[in-house]
C-alpha cells in the first residue's frame, strides 16, 4: 500500500501489464466502434443537438434568443423530471406506460387538496408525491409478484389512473392553481448575482467531487486522471454553467424549475452510478439470473424502482401544473407519455435494460423539446410535428437495436 502510494506516477495498471502479449491483447474497441455502439451516446446526442439548433436558427432567428431558451427550459423541466423515472425503469429492462397519466393524477390530487380543501402547499405536494409512490408500489408489486410483463400492468394503469384522474377532478373537470408556493415552482427566476452564485456552487461541487475521486484513485495506486484532465473537465462544466446562466439572465433569468430538474438529475445519476442500490439496478437490468445468484434481492430492487419511477412522475406532474397554473381532464394526456419515454431513448438509454444514464433524461428532453419548440416557432401544423417527432424516436430506437445486435455479434465468440 505504502509503496503503491509512493509511486503514483507509475501509469501501468497491474492487470493490463501482464506483459507477454496474449492473442487477445489490445483488442479494445476503436473510437469509431464505441460511438457506433452507443457507448459515447452523450457525444452523439450533443452533436445531434448542435445540428438541430443550427437548423432551427437558420430557419428562424428567434430560436436561439434568451426569451425562447427560457421558454424551452421551462418546457423541458416537467417532461425531463418524468423521464428520470423512465430511465430508472428502462435500466431494469422494464417499461412504465403509466408515468404520464400518473403525473396528471398526482398533480390533480395536490391541486384538489390545496385549492378545494385548503391544505398548505408542502403537505399538498407531499400528498401528490406520496400518491405516486403508492401507485408505483402497487404496480411494481404486481409486476414482480405475479411475473406479469410491466408493459401490460402499466398499460392497465394507463387506463385505470385516467379514470381516477376524472374522479379526483370531479364535475368541474378543471382546478386552477393559485397557492403561491406551487405557482412559484415554475414562476421563480434567479437573476443577476443569485444566478451566478448558483453556477459557481455547481462548478465548485463538481471540482471537489472530481478532485476527491482522483485523490482516492491515486491513494490506491491506480491510474488516475491527470490534473490537466481534471482541470479541463472543471473548465468545461464552468463554461457550460456560466454560459447557460449568462444567456438566460438576458431574459427572465434562471428558472427554479430548471435548477430543480438538474438537481434531481445529479442526485439520481449519483444513485445509479455510485451507490450499491444503483449497481444492483444495473445488474438486474443486465442479467437478472446472475443478479439473483449473486445474492441481490431482485424483487426488492424492482419494486423500489417502480416506486421511484412513479414518484418522479408525480414530481414532473407538479412542475407541469405549476407552469400551466391548472390541472384538467387532459393533464398527463396527449403526447406527454411518448415524449417522456422518447427523450431518454433518443439520448442513448437502451430499451433492453442495463445501459443508459440519468443524464439522457435531460439531454433527450432537450432534443425533443428543441424539435417541438422549433417547429412551434416555424408555426408548423400538428400533423408535421407528430410525424417528425415519431420519426426521430423511430430512428433512435433503430440505432439502439442496431447497436445491440452488433454487440451480440461481436461480444461473444
Amino acid at each position: 500500500m505504502s509503496t503503491a502510494a509512493a509511486t503514483p506516477s507509475e501509469p501501468t495498471p497491474p492487470a493490463a501489464t501482464a506483459a507477454a502479449p496474449g492473442p487477445e491483447q489490445g483488442r479494445g474497441p476503436s473510437l469509431f466502434n464505441r460511438v457506433a455502439q452507443g457507448e459515447l451516446g452523450s457525444m452523439r446526442v450533443l452533436l445531434g443537438l448542435v445540428v438541430i439548433w443550427t437548423i432551427f436558427t437558420v430557419a428562424n432567428d428567434r430560436f436561439l434568443t434568451s426569451t425562447n431558451l427560457v421558454n424551452l427550459s421551462l418546457q423541458i423541466a416537467a417532461t425531463g423530471m418524468i423521464s428520470i423515472g423512465v430511465v430508472l425503469v428502462l435500466l431494469l429492462g422494464e417499461i412504465d406506460l403509466s408515468v404520464a397519466i400518473v403525473s396528471g393524477l398526482c398533480a390533480s390530487v395536490m391541486a384538489v387538496l390545496c385549492e378545494q380543501h385548503g391544505w398548505p402547499a408542502i403537505p399538498g405536494i407531499l400528498a401528490g408525491i406520496g400518491t405516486g409512490a403508492a401507485i408505483g408500489l402497487f404496480q411494481g408489486s404486481i409486476v414482480t409478484r405475479f411475473g406479469i410483463p410491466s408493459f401490460v400492468v402499466t398499460l392497465a394503469g394507463l387506463i385505470g389512473w385516467q379514470g381516477a384522474l376524472l374522479w379526483v377532478l370531479g364535475s368541474t373537470g378543471t382546478v386552477n392553481i393559485t397557492t403561491p408556493a406551487i405557482v412559484d415552482l415554475a414562476g421563480t427566476f434567479f437573476t443577476g448575482a443569485t444566478a451566478y452564485i448558483i453556477a459557481a456552487v455547481v462548478v465548485a461541487l463538481f471540482a471537489v467531487a472530481s478532485l476527491d475521486a482522483r485523490r482516492r484513485r491515486v491513494a490506491a495506486g491506480l491510474v488516475a486522471a491527470t490534473p490537466l484532465v481534471v482541470a479541463i473537465r472543471v473548465a468545461a462544466v464552468a463554461i457550460v454553467s456560466f454560459g447557460v446562466v449568462a444567456v438566460l439572465d438576458q431574459d427572465r433569468g434562471l428558472p427554479l424549475a430548471l435548477v430543480i430538474l438538474i438537481g434531481f438529475v445529479v442526485i439520481f445519476d449519483y444513485i445509479v452510478r455510485r451507490t450499491r442500490f444503483g449497481r444492483h439496478i444495473l445488474a438486474v437490468g443486465g442479467n437478472e439470473e446472475a443478479a439473483r445468484r449473486a445474492g441481490i434481492h431482485v424483487m426488492r430492487v424492482r419494486i423500489m424502482v417502480f416506486v421511484l419511477g412513479s414518484s418522479l412522475a408525480a414530481c414532473g406532474g407538479i412542475l407541469f401544473a405549476s407552469r400551466l397554473l391548472a390541472v384538467n381532464q387532459s393533464s398527463g394526456g396527449s403526447d406527454l407519455l411518448l415524449l417522456a419515454i422518447a427523450g431518454p431513448v433518443i439520448a442513448g438509454t437502451s430499451l433492453f435494460g442495463g445501459r443508459g444514464t440519468v443524464w439522457s433524461a435531460l439531454l433527450g428532453g432537450l432534443v425533443i423539446g428543441s424539435i417541438s419548440n422549433g417547429m412551434d416557432l416555424l408555426a408548423l401544423p400538428s400533423s408535421t410535428k407528430y410525424m417528425v417527432t415519431g420519426g426521430v424516436l423511430l430512428a433512435a430506437v433503430v440505432v439502439d437495436a442496431a447497436a445491440r445486435q452488433r454487440r451480440m455479434r461481436s461480444g461473444r465468440v
Binding site: A16, R216, R279, A283, A291
Partner: protein
Amino acid sequence: MTATTSEPLLALHGVTKRFGAVQALAGVDFDVRAGEVVGLVGDNGAGKSTLVKVMSGIYRADEGEYRFEGEVRHVTAPSDATALGVATVYQDLALCDNLDVVANLFVGREEISGGVGGALRSLDEASMEKQAAELLQTLTVRLPSVRQEVGTLSGGQRQSVAIARSLIGEAKVVLLDEPTAALGVAQTEQVLALIRRLREQGLGVVVISHNLANVFDVVDRIFVLRLGRKAGVYEVAETSQEEIVGAITGAEFGRGNGSGGGGEQATGEATR
C-alpha cells in the same frame, strides 16, 4: 503420494438422491483435496450435474454425509456452501454483460466507502478496482482493461472473469461446470492454464467436462459416474482415455488386460 495422506477439503460419503422414481445418485462417494484438480466425467444422465448441485447446496441429498475440512456440515442452500468456501462457476457464467470487469467481480458484495451515509453511501471503486487488478494479476488473466464491459470480452476472457469472481469470496473449493465447452483452442488453453494456477494456489478444483482430452490435460484424478453410481476413480498418470471411455460407457475395453478398470477402482478405494 502426498495426495493420499492429506485430508480431503470436501468429501461426500454415500450420497443418494432420488427424484420421484428416478434414482439420480446411489451411494456416491466423492472427495477433493487442497491443491488438487479432480475431473468429474460421465455420460448424459450419469448424475454429474446432480452431484455438483449437491456440492454447491442447490440440492439436498436424501442420504449421505457432507464433510468440509473433515467436519460434517449441513448444507441446505447455496449460501451455506458459499459460506463454507465452496464456489460454483456455472456453464452460463452468470455475468452481467453491461457491467465492467470490476463491477462483475464484486456484484452482490460491493464495497462501500464513506460518503453521505445510509443508502446513499458511495461505492469504493478505487478499492474494488485495486483488488480486481491484483486478483487478475495473481491468476495471470490478461484483459485489455479491468474497466472494459464484460460483454465485449472473448469467451475465454469471460470464463476467466467468472472463475476469478468465485475467488473474491475466499473460496477453498471451486466447482467448474463445463468450463471449456464453448471455447476455441487458444481460449481453452487459457482457461486450462488458469485452472492449473488455481491448483498452485492450493485450491481444490472440480472440473465437469465432456472433453476427455482437456480433462487429461489438467486434472490429477478422474472420477467416473455411470447411472448414478461411482464407476471408478483413476489417477491420470496411470490410466488412458480408452479406459475412461470404457468406464463411462460400461463397455469392457480390455485390450488384453480386462482387470484394468477393476484394478484402478481398487486403488481408488485403497486411497480412502
